[in-house]
Symmetry: C2
């Protein structure tokens, strides 16, 4: 006990000493997963946050809506929080905003116009969340975020408009955080806009933080020009309707698709409210110039010839409730698949969704649609720079230190290796942090301190934020595997004897109606267990519960080789 | 009602008429998934079955051990079943044998020596399953399986030794079923053993059945020679121990790996009983020639220098209980990962396992291992022919009709397209069957009849075979998503009034201990619901249960936006 305390005190003191003159950097999410991106820089009494995203649920978190970053550390210092900078409008960068702003003191949000619009629209769905305070930024601008932090914003290509990265001027040096990006290519296949990176390289960069999502992918991005050309080819080939599924957030792609459709004289109908909203935002801000009468309501697609119709929808990942899945399963109000339809899945498959996408493709093809996906033709390009582009950026920016961010450990490890190869950084100059670990960025070093800030999952499930914890999830996992059996013993409070036969309810274990014999055996066994206690040792409820849990659990396992959750209840009257 | 009945009678009559002179073909599994391969040919009173495999559980079948084919159709005709031919020793082709043999009349199993050995070993784990009757076959042999079916067996390259395909001579013509295969390549990269296929092409082939698992993959297989060369390169680079994870069933690869290790003076330790058993079988049959003292017990790896050690183990898919996962999580008895270890995952990732493999790689890399997987270097090659090899086979075999088998609909559809392109079959000559559909193979046509045989899932869970049905699975899925709440109302049988406060138990919903207020509200609400029934209308148990289920369900949804399973129980004393 005493020992632990001493260590703690020493650590804290050391941390404080070690921090003198250091910028502290930590991630509350995004270093150990794809998503939940939120990181911060701290210097003395100032904190600058970058992004506040959500993470989609995992196999180990059944029933959860999504996971948000744990902001309790920031909550304890909310007066110090000077800015929340949002790099772009994807949910893994903005999705946590409605849930956490109050807790972190509702700081000013720095965002470009389209990002701001997306954040603001989403906030409207949360009437109890605070009103947000925005500061609009543009690529090329410099903003003094606080006394010690000055941000120079630069534009990056992602697959949503107005993505920005930043060079942060800090007391220890210049830190570059480009957000998420890939290279853009011109018609000749030459990368565009490299001067942004080259200019950064002239600034003496202390530390470069770099997205690792693409760090396992060799080579270069598929140019969006190729994607557009391939899509146009498919559009021209199609003899019937075209149904194109993609992410609602791929605004650049959507803009291009509508442009091609318009050029080919097709009408475009959009299915799905998120996609409709995004298109409307992009249109309002001038990112989509769509001719009159090109967009038509979904319910009017029957008024046009099949080869004049393009339907845009979400659900290319096989998400159960999304539009394309409804179309495939025959549950869509306006669209049924028919022979001659061309269905294009213009997205890659997010790990974990492979089976759903397989089923989606099967269902569509079975109904006679011609299905195309990204493995067959180049109709999707990731938004994340792969290896050669990452290496180019490293070479242009020439940082002294490198912190790979965004993605699983192995991806970040690969990114660190790339930096060791491409710009000959030493292993100690490439820093692999985990969520919650605090790095001390000093003039001549970047060190992982012994200190951590809370970064464990905060789960959102229905209206509950953080109320589903490990206990509830563990129970869900057990229930899913083997189901449960509730055994209710009704006892006479005076004598401790059964007033009636034990009641047995089960779900997800075996179908009791077809296993009456087993149920009878269990009842008999319970009565025997309880009645075998000598009369003078009246068994208490805990004893009965424990005995039932152990003995009936074992008995059921012997009989079935399954281990349902056993829930003994004792009712005394 | 009447209309349906007429249609049915007509259909049956038509089916009987249509079958005259036709070989009937149906699959009980393997047309709609990867796995559970089992198909049969029927002519008059003779049935020949090919394979009897299992399928691993899916997301929609939580807690299930595996799925086996439904053999009720064959069970009703077991006297007609003349042969079960096994193409090779993988579980998706042999795994159902212990469960179904009795039901289908324990027919003679035709298998090559190593396949027989694997089947026989597994059967030993089922003491109550019948003794099997084997007929040994060899590539190149002809066996008269029954009056009407004669099988000419030929060898195919897969990733387990002694895989066979067959040409079945039937009354309507020659039908080729090659099992699962890919091309083998020599050191110059030229495909080997093509004469087998060319010879088939000289036989006038009526129908070709062809594995579709690789039909979405462009190009040719990666030669196992390349895989071996890449593995040897990694082995030579490794400065510490090598831990290599792969499938226990990839016997050809395992043989080659051990050979390389021996050449490099390394000792080989095997972790995992399935892999040990398989290596022993292959050794006994002469498929692995391993020098003295090369294999060492796992517990002795500490006796050798790290660079002399190769550990072979299962679990490259991130399976939770497999050896490599235990090593990664620090739970393995003899092996802890340390800095300098090289871990090689010599397998592809089965769809659905992507996240587990990611976590596996993360855990290993975090502990300092150098991790290599198939996307980084060519250290795995699939056992299934990709597009160009499939097309070559079609061109050499020159069938009149084509039935794509094994795999999801979309894969089979692609395979059919390949046949339409490569050998100019008409769409009606490429037949896309689903599980349970009966095809009539006649002299001049292959038709899908209106008849179906039962092919729905039979699930194995613990000792139960087929006792977990849709109801139990649906409950498991609901429980996994939102958990459940049991509400026990204890009533006086005479007055119908509460004898005590309702008892509430919940799991997987919210942590009740931290939500006492909500529990109190629910109790109050229940008492109110029941007591508001006028005294002269004593509520019965069903009324109470219904009211609680509806009203409390709605109340909890309003409060939490979650829909746990509500289980009302009424105890009357």
């Amino acid at each position: 006990m005493f020992k632990t305390r001493t260590t703690k005190i020493l650590k804290t003191r050391k941390a404080v000493l070690g921090e003198k003159g250091a910028v502290r950097f930590a991630a509350l999410g995004g270093l150990g997963e794809i998503g939940r991106n939120m990181m911060f820089f701290e210097y003395e009494d100032e904190i600058i946050i970058i992004d506040a995203g959500l993470q989609f649920p995992e196999e180990t978190t059944p029933g959860i809506d999504f996971i948000i970053p744990n902001v309790s550390y920031l909550g304890g210092k909310k007066k110090n929080v000077k800015a929340l900078v949002i790099t772009h409008g994807h949910y893994d960068h903005i999705g946590a905003i409605p849930y956490i702003m109050e807790q972190i003191g509702n700081p000013t949000i720095y965002a470009t116009s389209i990002t701001k619009e997306i954040v603001a629209r989403r906030q409207e769905e949360f009437p109890n969340a605070p009103k947000l305070d925005f500061e609009m930024i543009k690529a090329g601008e410099t903003h003094q975020l606080s006394k010690n932090f000055k941000a120079h914003f630069f534009g990056v290509t992602h697959n949503i408009p107005e993505g920005v990265g930043m060079m942060l001027e800090t007391p220890v040096g210049n830190i570059v955080h480009p957000g998420e990006f890939k290279f853009d290519y011109d018609l000749e296949g030459k990368p565009k806009d490299l001067e942004v990176w080259e200019k950064l390289g002239e600034q003496k960069i202390h530390t470069l933080l770099l997205d690792s999502t693409g760090a396992e992918e060799p080579g270069y991005s598929i140019s969006e020009r190729i994607v557009e050309a391939e899509l146009e080819k498919l559009f021209k080939q199609a003899e019937g309707r075209i149904i194109l599924g993609t992410f609602a957030s791929l605004l650049d792609r959507l803009a291009e698709i509508i442009k091609i459709a318009e050029r080919l004289g097709k009408k475009v109908a959009v299915s799905g409210s998120s996609m409709k909203t995004n298109i409307q935002i992009a249109r309002n801000l001038g990112y989509m110039k769509i001719g009159k009468d090109v967009l038509i309501p979904l319910e009017e697609i029957g008024k046009y010839r099949d080869d004049k119709i393009l339907v845009l929808c979400t659900g290319a990942q096989g998400e159960p409730q999304a539009q394309l899945m409804r179309i495939a399963s025959g549950e869509h109000r306006y669209i049924q698949v028919k022979k001659g339809d061309t269905v294009i899945l213009s997205s890659s498959v997010i790990p974990g969704n492979e089976r759903s996408v397989q089923i989606l493709k099967d269902d569509l093809a079975r109904q006679g649609a011609l299905v195309y996906h990204y493995k067959m033709v180049d109709i999707h390009s990731s938004g994340h720079a792969p290896q050669e582009e990452l290496k180019s950026v490293m070479k242009m920016v020439k940082p002294k230190f490198f912190i790979p961010i965004h993605g699983y450990y192995f991806m970040r490890w690969r990114n660190a290796k790339l930096a060791q190869d491409a710009i000959k950084l030493k292993p100690e100059e490439t820093v692999l942090l985990d969520n919650g670990q605090v790095a001390l960025i000093k003039k001549d070093s970047v060190e992982i301190s012994g200190e951590t800030v809370p970064a464990y999952y905060v789960m959102v499930d229905g209206l509950g934020v953080g109320d589903v914890g490990e206990v509830v999830l563990r129970d869900r996992r057990v229930l899913a595997q083997e189901g449960m059996v509730v055994i209710i013993s009704t006892l006479d409070r005076q004598t401790g004897r059964f007033l009636k036969n034990p009641d047995i309810i089960s779900r997800g274990f075996i179908y009791l109606k077809e296993n009456k014999e087993l149920v009878e055996e269990v009842r008999k066994k319970i009565r025997h267990l309880i009645s075998s206690v000598p009369r003078h040792q009246q068994p208490d409820a805990d004893y009965i519960k424990g005995t039932i849990r152990d003995q009936i659990g074992q008995y059921l396992y012997k009989k079935t080789k399954r281990r349902p959750m056993i829930l003994p209840v004792v009712i005394e009257v």
